[in-house]
């Protein structure tokens, strides 16, 4: 195992998959000559040339559609959105084209495309640049939604996403790019789409998380452990399809659950997790499920307000204690 940053892990996944399959190409703003706004594509232009690593104008709707067209005829585009905030401009192509082509054509045309880029809030980027949209994409049949929280998952899931025959919305954590972790060096290290992973075992309370909140949940679990509480951390990794089985198995052990996510509360991913648990595991629960989410406001610029708006380990700890009726 090598120790890599999340960014490097993504870069490796891209490089390996482009080397493995000549149909894979990368397109987006600043992905080529600039090496990516967040440097995820560093060195790829040099290695694969301008036909396979393509800088675009600022035209999200257009180049998302170009990706869809290329995918319809069998290429495997990886379309980078500089951030998912800008993808709102392209969402018609993601939802009305990519997600529906296979169905509308009665199975004749698929759309093996990956839309990827950073999601969620970084630091003080304010309201228009600090949004987490995974629950939106996960709402839509025809899409898969992948949200890795660690370098190993980032690499393994991106490889799976590129090899997948369906459109995958791949949301990276903007704050995770510099996070380091062990990553298998095997070129065939893939992480299957649709499987959650228990990142830490514990019998007292389940903490469901994904993407940036994986680290937060793990930190909260540490803090809880210091108080003698054993939290089990379930990383969804894929938001759609949701691995309800792994979630329920954990709740069956703990009988208590907290869902930690970065986005807004209303109809977030956590709402669906809650729905699944209460429906399939009604008798398992000894307490209501509490969700820890971003504040229900546009993100403020001021750093103190921003901090107050974001989820953190302290909030997750407090929620865990609440479901344990400890405070």
């Amino acid at each position: 195992m090598a120790v890599l940053t999340y960014r490097e892990a993504l870069n490796q996944a891209l490089r390996e998959e482009m080397a493995r399959d000549p149909d894979v190409f990368l397109m987006g703003e600043e992905v080529a000559e600039y090496d990516g706004a967040y440097k995820v594509s560093r060195g790829l232009l040099k290695e694969f040339g301008p036909l396979r690593v393509v800088d675009t104008p600022i035209a999200e709707l257009g180049f998302a559609g170009i990706g869809v067209g290329a995918a319809m005829v069998g290429l495997r585009p990886v379309i980078e959105f500089m951030t998912w905030n800008f993808a709102l401009l392209a969402i018609d192509q993601v939802v009305n084209s990519a997600a529906k082509l296979r169905y509308m054509s009665g199975g004749q045309y698929g759309c093996p495309i990956v839309f990827r880029g950073p999601g969620g809030a970084a630091l003080q980027l304010a309201a228009q640049h600090s949004q987490a949209f995974e629950s939106w994409y996960a709402h839509v049949p025809g899409l898969k939604v992948v949200t890795p929280g660690t370098p190993a998952d980032a690499k393994g899931l991106l490889k799976s996403a590129i090899r997948d025959d369906d459109p995958v919305v791949f949301i990276e954590g903007e704050m995770l790019y510099n996070v380091k972790g062990e990553v298998p060096e095997d070129e065939d290290h893939v992480v299957p789409i649709g499987r959650a992973e228990v990142k830490r075992a514990g019998g007292d309370v389940t903490m469901v998380c994904h993407s940036k909140t994986v680290g937060i949940a793990l930190k909260a679990a540490d803090e809880l452990a210091a108080e003698g509480i054993a939290a089990e951390v379930v990383d969804l990794r894929t938001v759609r399809p949701l691995d309800t089985e792994t979630i329920l198995a954990s709740v069956a052990r703990t009988n208590r659950c907290v869902v930690v996510e970065e986005g807004w509360p209303f109809a977030g991913v956590g709402a669906q997790v809650v729905d699944e648990i209460q429906r399939e595991g009604f008798d398992l629960l000894d307490a209501p499920i509490i969700r820890v989410t971003g504040a229900d406001v546009p993100m403020p610029y001021n750093k103190h307000l921003e901090r107050a708006a974001k989820v953190d380990a302290g909030k997750a700890v407090a929620a865990a204690k609440r479901v344990l009726y400890l405070e």
Partner: protein, 336 residues
């Protein structure tokens, strides 16, 4: 406007006879198919939105005649004509309108979403402008693979005011993609006349914003359409450059089956005026002038086509609905 090849100047020969006969057959097939589709819609056999192509037949036929079998087509919701001209059987098309499993999209797409992988027909798309960047992407794939395929992309004149058009044409020109952007200017987007939606009346001139070649074409004259398309296709295939064709045409019928035939946004007289330059009549007259057809021949062809359409209806009528399980197939790759 690109001028029509002067038909009379050419000596009749077998090849030309065959070619014109084929244009006529296709145009008449589209006309009769659409008339029948309208009828079947009124009988409740066809549901949803249904947009007919009557009046615009020469555009589909003339442009598609320039294409090779391995070229690609993509279009909007008014696409029955393109599908038929490209060689989709009337049976597969009609069955799709009926929602039957024998339809080209297994009854899941319907009138607005005919697809046919066998003829590289990349479908009918329902969001105005949505197919334009997709077409550019298909052109990108041709460039990527270093083939000499060309993409024909159809859209209405009302679609040129939407962002997709702008973004796609800019990238297609910037990257030299082999796409022919075919604007079927039938004068109206639903009830909105061109001049009430576009600040410029010559749609073709929008191409200058992208340093793209363009032409204004008489869409009722299949020869003019074919000639302009030949040029545009060559530009794509050989020079690897896109073209914007503005093909001026007219729809005789309402926007969709739920819209009145002429409505309040245009007069009956206007429709009648345009009907005088009917593309099928124009072609038929040329063929008669050239001695390639007589009235009896035309009637025979028409009867044959009407029988083909009747057969398509019977086929559609008798075909089964998709099985209930089909609700959950084709959502993802694995699930069939």
């Amino acid at each position: 406007m690109a001028t029509s090849t002067n038909a009379k100047a050419r000596a009749p020969n077998a090849r030309r006879a065959e070619e014109l006969q084929e244009y006529l057959r296709q145009m008449l097939l589209i006309r009769r198919f659409e008339e029948k589709a309208g009828e079947m819609y009124s009988l409740g056999k066809i549901g949803g939105f249904c947009h007919l192509y009557i009046g615009q037949e020469a555009v589909a036929v003339g442009t598609i005649a320039s294409l090779r079998a391995d070229d690609y087509l993509i279009t909007a919701y008014r696409e029955h004509g393109h599908a038929l001209a490209r060689g989709m059987s009337a049976r597969a098309a009609m069955a799709e309108l009926f929602g039957k499993v024998t339809g080209c999209s297994r009854g899941k797409g319907g009138s607005m979403h005919l697809f046919d992988a066998a003829t590289n027909f990349l479908g009918g798309h329902g969001i105005v402008g949505g197919q334009i960047p997709i077409a550019a992407g298909v052109g990108f794939a041709a460039k990527y693979r270093k083939t000499d395929q060309v993409v024909a992309c159809y859209f209405g004149e009302a679609a040129v005011n939407i962002g997709s058009f702008h973004e796609a044409l800019n990238m297609a020109s910037l990257w030299k993609l082999p796409v022919v952007f075919i604007c079927e200017n039938n004068g109206y987007g639903m009830g909105t006349a061109l001049a009430r939606a576009s600040a410029i009346l010559d749609i073709a001139h929008r191409a200058y914003s992208y340093e793209m070649a363009c032409a204004v074409v008489d869409g009722q004259d299949v020869f003019a359409v074919k000639a302009a398309m030949d040029e545009a296709v060559a530009r794509g295939r050989t020079d690897k450059k896109p073209t914007l064709l503005e093909i001026r045409t007219y729809r005789y019928v309402g926007h969709s089956m739920s819209d009145a035939a002429h409505g309040t946004y245009r007069t009956k007289d206007e429709v009648e005026e345009f009907r005088k330059r009917d593309p099928i009549t124009l072609l038929r007259d040329t063929m008669i002038d050239e001695g390639l057809l007589d009235d009896a021949g035309f009637e025979a062809l028409d009867r044959q086509i009407q029988a083909e359409v009747e057969d398509a209806v019977t086929f559609a009528e008798e075909s089964p609905d998709p099985a209930p399980e089909e609700l959950y197939t084709d959502v993802y790759a694995g699930d069939r």
